[in-house]
Symmetry: C2
Subunit: 319 residues, 2 copies
DNA sequence: TTACTATCATACCCTCAGGGTATAGTGAGC
DNA sequence: GCTCACTATACCCTGAGGGTATGATAGTAA
């Protein structure tokens, strides 16, 4: 497949007419017909009902059309952004993050960052905690928000906060009767759903280690690839999952109970290359301190405990 | 530009070596070098530092690399989805929506829909209310969630609920002292920010008409293109904006006060082609009734008033 | 039904973009 | 400064993509 084919197809779909589309594309009509045929052949699917005038798109064609428009738009944006950066009009900051931080302070941080550094092209890449370590070393990202501690000397880490863990429970089950915090021990003998399945080690191991350390044994452990699947299975009454408190927003058709216990927390960790002294890194750290200082509603709502040492003194509680 | 060039560039970026990338692509090294040069020439930007071994990406190159990966992935997904639909394994339902419904019931509806019809490819397209009318007629979407009433006989509409309006106020301003509901009249003499600027008529006109009907005259009206901009300006103390209650989630650094008055509501309207009797349309309507029947927390939290006639009897309160 | 028009598909030719081979140029390490 | 590993340059050749001519057919009006 070829971008040319996408452009040709979108022109035909827009005009609902091969001849006019060809004119608009500044080519003759036969080659246009042929390119569309080749495209349909490659996909193994007919995109256009030709046995009617004006022509109509098939269901597949309509889907393909909308997606093609989006891809083409995306490519234009990509070219523009690359040019801006290449011509030194803009700088790039690539930020890796685990999905759950989307439900915490990350969106606000990004907004603040855009306000404070409008010349910055911010690139957000969803990736797991260990993938962030590799991506930092390769220079694919400049900053990572993860949930896993690591021991790589080239990567500098800051625990930003410890977030309460909650159990996600199916409605109308025994444990869902009460809403008081749940002792970890209550999970003994229950079916547990953990995520992500790979790559390891991951948040799943953090949860499994916690249970093991507290000598809590689930009757069964099911590993799934992502939190959405885990919550889906919970909703289908296939077990219990343990998630960071802020991720409760992801689904409202399951019940959540805070988990009790001094270790029932998951950290949010800021990772960056040791020795990186970019002004944007400094800015991000400052903005994070500002955010905690403002003590926004989501902090309390999500039962998040900022670390005592944080919030005021720069550099405190790091590494 | 060409997809081939994107594939070539990602291979080089991955391998950090032209020769090995060429092998992996099953072409000779010189043509690969040339394609990358052409790409850089078209962009007018250097993507690769060649004066080091192994080669390194420039800032622009890193940005371009990540974006290119995403675009290529997107294209694969697009091909797969189109094939599935074309081979009748899946059906497509295209849903147009105004941005603010993302903060209401739409995400939950989509989840329910996926559960109830896993064979369905759901395509979400953000568009304004009037754009939805045109898109429905052209068959670009099958379903629209908008906020504007219309009078097109080919489009069937159902008011799903009336949502409270709230005023977005800059922190530390006079009106932000109190948190009690704000009478519309309090907006007299204030700077007002409305959106979207175009295409008209839009939600902006709905608000302006409301104020006019109630004889409330702002000192100044500023039109901006989208709600994010409006809230950004509010945060910068450039005026007051009026938004649907559920959109409060978009920004936490401004203050919101409910607006008082019998007409201070904005409807959420379901649009579809008159005569469309697809089973998925029926399913969506059923799921919406289920959702309201469950009376989820966001309904109350957003001060939404379901219409009395809705929720139980199918077909009631329609059109 | 027929004739007409608008429009898409087919057949066939030609050109140049992209790939190949040979080789020159160059950064990095000993 | 020599060598190795690697990239750029020079030049040739082939086929994908575009052009022209024409056939095939849906829609339409009489």
């Amino acid at each position: 497949m070829d971008l040319r084919q996408l452009r040709y197809f979108t022109a035909v779909a827009r005009e609902r007419n091969f001849t006019r589309a060809a004119e608009r594309l500044h080519i003759a009509q036969p080659p246009l017909s042929r390119q569309i045929q080749l495209l349909e052949e490659e996909l193994g699917v007919s995109l256009i009902h030709r046995k009617s005038r004006p022509i109509k798109l098939t269901d597949a064609g309509r889907l393909f059309y909308e997606q093609a428009l989006q891809v083409l738009g995306r490519i234009d944006q990509m070219k523009d952004a690359t040019r801006r950066v290449g011509l030194h009009r803009n700088k790039v900051l690539s930020i890796g993050f685990v999905a759950s931080t989307l439900y915490g302070g990350l969106p606000l941080l990004i907004r603040k960052l855009r306000q404070n550094a409008p010349e910055l092209d911010i690139q957000l890449l969803e990736m797991l905690s260990i993938q962030q370590i590799a991506a930092l070393k390769e220079g694919r990202i400049d900053l990572g928000f993860g949930r896993l501690k690591h021991s790589d000397p080239n990567i500098h880490s800051t625990v930003m906060r410890e977030e309460r863990l909650v159990a996600a429970l199916a409605q109308d089950t025994e444990l869902a009767r009460d809403i008081a915090p749940l002792p970890l021990a209550a999970l003994s003998g229950q079916k547990l759903i953990v995520y992500p399945k790979e790559p390891r080690p991951s948040y799943a191991d953090q949860i499994l280690t916690l249970l093991q350390d507290e000598d809590v044994r689930p009757s069964e452990v099911l590993e799934v690839r992502e939190i959405q699947t885990a919550l889906g299975l919970v909703a289908a009454d296939s077990g219990i999952s343990i998630i960071p408190a802020s991720a409760r927003q992801m689904r409202s058709d399951v019940l959540y109970r805070l988990i009790d216990g001094p270790r029932a927390f998951s950290p949010v960790i800021l990772n960056h290359r040791a020795g990186d002294s970019s002004r944007y890194l400094v800015l991000v750290k400052q903005l994070i301190r500002d955010m905690y200082a403002e003590n926004p509603p989501w902090l309390e709502a999500n039962n998040i405990h900022p670390l005592p040492a944080e919030g005021g003194s720069p550099g405190a509680a790091e590494n």
